[in-house]
Symmetry: C2
Subunit: 255 residues, 2 copies
């Protein structure tokens, strides 16, 4: 059953990608939301489109999206949508932004898509079905001996909960750490290119796809916050990647 | 005359790109050099290829390369080669690495190419000839009002000269700063997607292309070190991008 849903979800993302690319290649106008973050026409229209497609194909399912709140909050299947993850990057013209589509079933992440319209890169998969990148399986050929690279979200994410000290400790212990602002890093962790990725204080729609895909690809997902926070669409944090590297990062975070 | 050289240089890079992609899509073996940094077969073979092409087309010119030192150090024209900038990224499977090819004439950066084989993105240009990205002009449509994003090289670059305090001050003042390890950030600064990019303690072959291209695209290049260091292929540092943002970053660095 999940394979049919994945096929539909990929079809939905084909359509949102086209819409987002049209905006990216034109003016990329944005407004600043009350919380200080930017929102673009691409965000709003892509989420509307995905919601409409989900509603018409799966009317009994719930939807949680970044721009338009929750529908059917009591349903067992909950779709999560971040139409443009990395809106700052999108607005500036940095092509690593992406669309995040996920499904949770009874709270468990069971399906995920990470789509980069401007880079033509797409990760997709579901529990029991493996993970592909542009149609090719990823995860099976992960080279554990590869040069080990750690990445993190921006310092501003940590500051939202007064955790700047953890960011600074991470950068002191791993001075080669890359800092990515968007889901580009999650795809790299799924494919094994990143040994571990740390993300502080983001939302359920930011992490549901990587939570599903990284485990399906043979990696681990370690949630740092109270699990209950997820259900209320509150902030959530995680370290995910290859088991050994994730454990090293967790030791660093513990101080 | 420079336009004919640019045409030749682009042809050289077409060939190095093919060679590098073959290695990226196979085993990506690397060795650790005495200085602790990795080197791959792709680095060594691509630099050999580019040196051979330059030597046969421009026998009177000099060449400075990351892996094989200097030829003709007294020549007025000096080509700079970094065959795989971001070797860590290449070895890990992160596709933002790139090839950097530049020319200095009497010490002045006059031509540059930044090529990303795995992303199919190439910036190329020369003094007086403008800058293109995949053949389309960049620079003329820079949107100064775009969401302003700052980026930096890794903390390890600053630590090489005991400048960790500058990195920490930058991240404190600009907590959304992205940290890139390779030349991906330089292309973004040239196209105007990044407002400013800071890079500490890299080599002449890392910065010659962006030094030429960013000025040709309407931005500014501010060298932070002693200019004499460049001639001996010593470490060099820079802030480059849009004038206002570069000035804000320089004020932060000054403390």
């Amino acid at each position: 059953m999940l394979s049919a849903v994945l096929e539909d979800a990929v079809g939905f993302i084909d359509r949102s990608r086209n819409l987002i690319l049209q905006h990216f290649n034109s003016t990329r106008e944005f407004k600043i939301k009350p919380d200080g973050s930017p929102v673009t026409l691409a965000d709003l229209e892509a989420e509307d489109l995905l919601r409409e497609l989900i509603r018409s194909h799966y009317p009994s399912h719930g939807v949680i999206g970044e721009e338009h709140g929750s529908d059917n909050p009591g349903a067992e299947f909950q779709w999560t949508i971040d139409p443009v993850d990395g809106t700052q990057n999108f607005a500036a013209g940095i092509p690593t932004f992406g669309t995040l589509l996920g499904i949770r079933y009874q709270g468990k992440a069971v399906l995920g898509i990470i789509d980069h319209p401007a880079l033509d890169i797409r990760y997709a998969g579901a529990i029991g079905l493996g993970v592909t990148c542009n149609g090719k399986p990823v995860g099976n050929d992960r080279r554990i001996s590869a040069y080990e690279v750690i990445a993190s979200g921006t310092r501003s994410g940590y500051l939202r909960s007064g955790k700047g000290d953890i960011f600074d400790r991470l950068l002191a212990q791993f001075p080669d750490t890359r800092i990515y602002y968007d889901c580009f890093a999650h795809g790299l962790a799924i494919s094994g290119a990143l040994a571990a990725m740390v993300e502080y204080n983001v939302r359920i729609w930011d992490l549901t796809p990587v939570e599903c895909l990284i485990q399906e690809a043979g990696g681990v997902y370690h949630r740092l916050d109270d699990p209950a926070a997820l259900d209320s669409a509150g902030f959530t944090s995680s370290v995910h990647g290859q088991k050994d590297a994730v454990e090293r990062v967790l030791r660093c975070i513990a101080g």
